[in-house]
């Protein structure tokens, strides 16, 4: 069976998406006036796409917005959304599997569909193309279509050939495509420039040159996009070009439609427990564990209440999940009743099958760390349960960062520990009044929180300079002292600045740390 490939080029994808988002027909409303989608670059806004009136007025993709404005002062702008375009293209690739079993992305704005042995279901390739054209027209997307024996040939015809071109299996692609420009080979701009300088402007020109000469000219180009010979071989079908298929992954989903809308909490708890059990079985069948779960409650009046749960480690323990959701359902307003409850797991991770851990086991043997962290996080919030990690800074308060309790620690070069550090650091340093030997001697006595401490022993100063690459030039240095008062209480205090350093008046003293 000959291979047949359908190439789809959404020629105006970004503009079509913008128009769909605004709910406009082509040439209607804001689309009737010149408009451009812009991307912010280091040198200012640059045009990513322009609609038909905009292109007629002179705005072209790649142009700086300021240049386009001089040509057309009334040019309206909207932000471009390349990530959204790619996500849209992915969904379109799934949808395009109506014409063939496998489809692949051709970023930024194309699709490749494998339609080998499928065309007769639509009544021939001509009818298939008509069907596709009608389907895209219903979605208000501008497309160019082509069918050919290879992906390269189909792409070349879709981008540079006539509309709805079909290259039959018995045609000679080298002869039929000889008039297309070399840009039809899917090459990058630098290679096209090289070919143009060599005088090779059409595909037919490449056949006129001895192959050995071209091999020598491009011998160090390994990437297909930079080597016209590889691209030409792919186009002619001499080397295989596998397609990377797009496969839809459905997140595990379980739901209950309720015959009688429920309004009471205990019934809702029971439904959630049932759903958690269903979800656990579904996850177990796929050897997955949930990291994020979304519980949607559809009310009779159309309102949707969503509760999201994130787990510290993949889990599919029904009792655990139901218990965690139980704490989040306290403030649900059932209104006239809830008629549909749906539980989704949008984020899952592989989780091997294991011996089930029952609540009774947790009661006797204790909970696991992940379950404990989950319970703490659900009640106290993710910001309250954290672990300290070192950070590359010599400022004491910046040398420690906080992250989630089960995230792995980032590797960091170990620091020299020449000086003792206090056990605890105050979140806000507290100003203290200190009697000390001016200009920069040891402190003798200080007052803190209304109490006077006589300093009997002190060690210092340990001078810590400000991080000049991050802070203002007027930031003062700190001289740290480890001190102990008459009662044996140990603190870590510092003097901010020096007398006469030109960065402020009399130096202030602050208490930052409390030693053990």
């Amino acid at each position: 069976m000959p291979r047949r490939v359908l190439a789809i080029w959404c020629a105006r994808l970004a503009i079509d998406r913008w128009r769909l988002g605004e709910g406009l027909a082509p040439g209607e409303g804001a689309d009737a006036a010149p408009l451009a989608l812009i991307a912010e670059t280091a040198h200012g806004p640059r045009i990513a796409a322009a609609n038909a009136p905009g292109r007629a007025a002179g705005a072209a993709p790649g142009m700086m917005l300021a240049d386009a404005r001089t040509l057309c002062p009334t040019l309206a702008v909207a932000p471009a959304d390349p990530a959204g375009d790619l996500a849209f293209l992915e969904r379109l690739a799934i949808w395009a599997q109506r014409w063939g079993p496998g489809s692949a992305l051709d970023p930024p704005d194309g699709l490749i569909v494998d339609i080998s042995g499928v065309a007769h279901l639509f009544g021939g390739e001509r009818a298939l193309l008509a069907d596709a054209r009608a389907a895209f027209a219903r979605r208000r997307l501008t497309v160019r279509l082509a069918v050919a024996p290879t992906a390269g040939a189909a792409w070349a015809l879709a981008h540079h050939g006539p509309d709805d071109a079909i290259l039959r299996p018995r045609d000679d692609p080298a002869a039929r495509l000889a008039d297309l420009p070399v840009a039809a080979l899917r090459l990058d701009d630098a290679t096209i420039t090289v070919l143009r300088r060599l005088g090779l402007k059409r595909l037919g020109d490449l056949h006129g040159v001895a192959r050995a000469a071209l091999v020598r000219r491009f011998r160090d180009r390994r990437s297909p996009a930079a080597n016209p010979l590889i691209r030409m071989d792919q186009l002619l079908g001499r080397v295989p070009e596998p397609l990377l298929p797009v496969i839809a992954v459905e997140p595990p989903l379980v739901q209950r439609r309720l015959l009688e809308p429920i309004r009471h909490r205990d019934l809702l708890d029971r439904v959630v427990a049932d759903l958690a059990g269903d979800m656990a079985r579904r996850l177990e069948s796929r050897a997955l564990g949930a990291r994020r779960l979304e519980l949607g409650l559809w009310r009779v009046d159309g309102e949707v209440i969503v509760r999201v749960l994130e787990l510290a480690a993949p889990s599919r323990e029904a009792g655990h999940i139901a218990g965690l959701f139980g704490r989040k359902l306290d403030d649900v307003d059932a209104g006239f009743g809830i008629e549909l409850v749906r539980l989704r797991a949008p984020w899952t991770e592989p989780f091997a099958l294991a011996q089930g851990d029952f609540e009774a086991a947790a009661e006797t043997h204790g909970t696991s760390l992940a379950a404990c962290i989950d319970r703490l996080t659900v009640r106290l919030g993710a910001g309250a349960v954290r672990r300290p990690v070192p950070r590359a800074s010599h400022l004491p308060e910046r040398a420690q960062g906080w992250q989630g309790p089960l995230e792995p620690e980032k590797p960091l070069q170990d620091t020299f520990e020449f000086h003792d550090r206090p056990l605890k650091l105050l979140d806000r340093v507290e100003p203290i009044a200190v009697i000390y030997e001016t200009p920069d001697g040891l402190p003798r006595r200080f007052r803190w929180r209304g109490q006077v401490h006589e300093i009997t022993r002190a060690e210092g100063p340990e001078r810590i300079a400000p991080e000049w690459w991050r802070e203002r030039s007027s930031t003062r240095l700190r001289d740290y002292y480890r001190i102990e008062d008459g009662a044996g209480r140990r603190y870590w205090i510092y003097r901010l600045g020096l007398i006469g350093d030109g960065r402020g008046g009399v130096p202030g003293w602050f208490l930052q740390g409390i030693c053990g």
Partner: protein, 254 residues
């Protein structure tokens, strides 16, 4: 190991209930490195103008846990304790513990008690330290009883630091009051503060008579492997007959 080697002083033995199967003499004296009496539920009273409470809890923990144990540990603070005495600072924690800390900053005392109880029921935690300021209504005798039961059931050692608190009713197995003490002068700079020292009073305990000790954390020596085995804490009696340095070093096999 360190313990009293002289004859027992006159102590109020009548108030002490020795555990079954032990004679009064064996049960008498608290000493560091004593791991034999099951899980610990200990309360440490301290004022909030120094860090001795948390430091002593850490010293007790180092004294008790197995150095090869690399499970995480939990430190729970309520908002008031965090405001008064600050947040744990990783470079200042003992070297073997600093990478295993999970810190919980609870908004209220109720949340802190919840977090502590969850921690005590977790088998993957090496120990739990709590810091609660004042005498919140939620921390009554029932709550402390729940802690005692959870500690006995799951075997996770637990030290609760009570900052600026009244000595209220509690079921803790040991209750200490701690004040900082002058630290021993370091060898190379006698003018500098040395390793921390505390004056700790054991005012209520099951199985031990009350007493007052001068304690010194020896965490560095132990974790570097240079100290005597099992000695996370150096202790010296300071009250009663034990004045004038009546304590001496005894062999570790005590």
């Amino acid at each position: 190991m360190f313990e009293r080697c002289d004859s027992m002083p006159d102590l109020p033995f009548a108030t002490v209930l020795p555990p079954p199967g032990q004679s009064a003499l064996q049960a008498a004296e608290w000493r560091p490195g004593n791991r034999g009496e099951g899980a610990a539920h200990t309360e440490i009273f301290a004022t909030a103008d120094h860090g001795a409470g948390a430091a002593l809890a850490l010293a007790f923990a180092l004294d008790r846990i197995d150095p090869a144990d690399d499970r995480m540990w939990l430190w729970v603070q309520d908002r008031e304790a965090l405001r008064r005495t600050g947040r744990p600072y990783r470079p200042g924690l003992p070297r073997g513990l600093r990478h295993r800390l999970i810190h919980v900053a609870a908004k209220s005392a109720e949340d802190a008690l919840f977090a502590l109880e969850e921690g005590l029921r977790c088998r993957d935690l090496a120990f739990v330290i709590g810091e609660i300021a004042g005498n919140p209504r939620a921390l009554d005798f029932t709550a402390s009883r729940r802690f005692s039961l959870a500690v006995e059931r799951h075997g996770v050692p637990f030290w609760l630091v009570r900052l600026d608190a009244r000595r209220d009713l509690s079921s803790a197995r040991m209750r200490w009051h701690v004040e900082p003490a002058a630290s021993p002068p370091p060898r190379w700079n006698p003018q500098a503060p040395g390793h921390p020292a505390w004056r700790a009073e054991l005012f209520r305990a099951r199985g031990h008579p009350p007493g007052e000790w001068l304690l010194r954390g020896d965490a560095a020596a132990r974790l570097d492997g240079t100290g005597p085995e099992g000695a996370g804490l150096l202790a010296e009696r300071v009250d009663g007959a034990a004045q004038a340095g009546a304590l001496a070093r005894c062999p570790a096999a005590s």
